[in-house]
Amino acid sequence: MSKQENKENKKFSIWDLPDVPMGQLPPHLQLQRTRVVCKADAPIHTDTVLYSGAYASMGIDNSLHLDSFRSNFKVEVIRLTKDDMEFDMIGIDAAIANAFRRILISELPTMAIEKVLIANNTSLIQDEVLSHRLGLIPINADPRLFEYLSANDTPNEKNTIVFKLHVHCKPGEPRCTVYSEELKWLPNGSEFIKESEKVDTKPSTYTSFSCSQNSLQNFSSNPISPTEDKIIIAKLGPGQEIELEAHAVKGMGKTHAKWSPVATAWYRMLPEVVLLEEVEDEIAEELKKKCPVKVFDIEDIGKGKKRATVARPRACTLCRECIRGGEEWEKRVALRRVKDHFIFTIESTGAMPPEVLFTEAVKILEDKCERVITELS
């Protein structure tokens, strides 16, 4: 090898070749990494690329840096009402978005009726079914103000809410319906007297409240009740009667769904509909007609020509109707989902507003991490 050749060899590096991507993945890998591609038969590239060194051979770092996360992460609120909200969460991985969703459903505490003391029930609905129905009624009380009732605790004003239900349908009157509004809150605790063997002890009830919950500042202005007034509990025929006391305690959705603070919490990835080629005239019309949720629009491009455009990709339900009808349709339209853009919906049952639920869920995940850290230290 001559000296000159050697020198040339030294200067040459494969990173200088024009087809080497610099700091960027080639388009097909980038697509694979950031989009789920929905084909006519099944979606592909559904997983996320986790490993930090996945693209190391291309000189690309797949690791996550907090700074870049901080600058890329975005939240946009779309809708926010008393008990339901929709927001976009952009720039986060499914693993974490899913953790939030799972916590919302099963690890956020609420208050729900757990014990029912039935004094009289002559209605058609059996005691156990009635109790189950009562359990599912959402209760308008902030669970953060209460403690858990453990097995050998006595029920007191800090861990139990007592409701009374006493309804009677007088003989000769038409049938009546019992609604949740008839559950009356007893801020002083149970009114049922416990039967005791010792005669001389003073009568005790099923709870031992040291003070009235009414005197606790948070409840005097905002009395506890079911969140909805018109939930049907039972129907009574003439002469039938229900008399009971219902004790609500704090619990979590993973024990029983009645403690779940959300009706649903779910997300979907942002749909992305791309026209791979110009779709014109009759085919454009046909495409517009194919979509049941009107994702496509038609625009005039002059000279009597028309072209299809993607006007409302967010509405796409991914029914894949637009890529059915032969190969040629799959070549025209690409259906994708953005892997790090989540459209999150939370429907609260009413105990707490949805935005509070979400922040509480995030806090719970933080607490979990903290617990692990302290355990390992």
Binding site: L80, I96, N98, E355, V362, K363, C369, L376
Partner: protein
């Protein structure tokens, strides 16, 4: 609880009681994003046992420290999510009340 070897602290299995996919999958994500980790995965040995095992193998650093950093990262991310979310809700509220006032 940690099951590792005394000779080689760079690989260990951690067993968390009372946790499930919620934490394990999120931690697996942050750990895999850490360049010091060569392998990380988790399993739930039995569905009726509230326990999850997380396996961490690193390129040299002690697995325990790397796992701690992973949790720390996740915590900081959560913190950021929370503040961003609160800000977005605040913005939404001011925007809608402005629109109502117009």
């Amino acid at each position: 609880m940690e099951h590792g070897s005394l000779q080689d602290p760079s690989r260990a299995t951690f067993s968390f009681v009372d946790e499930d996919h919620t934490l394990a999958n999120a931690v697996r994500f942050t750990l895999n994003q850490d360049p010091r980790v060569s392998f990380c995965g988790y399993s739930i040995p039995h569905p009726s046992d509230a326990r999850v095992n997380i396996r961490v193998q690193t390129t040299g650093d002690p697995a325990r420290e790397v796992l701690k950093d992973g949790c720390q990262n996740l915590m900081l991310m959560c913190h950021h999510v929370r503040s961003t979310f609160d800000k977005a809700v605040g913005d939404y509220r001011t925007n809608t009340t402005e629109m109502e006032n117009d």
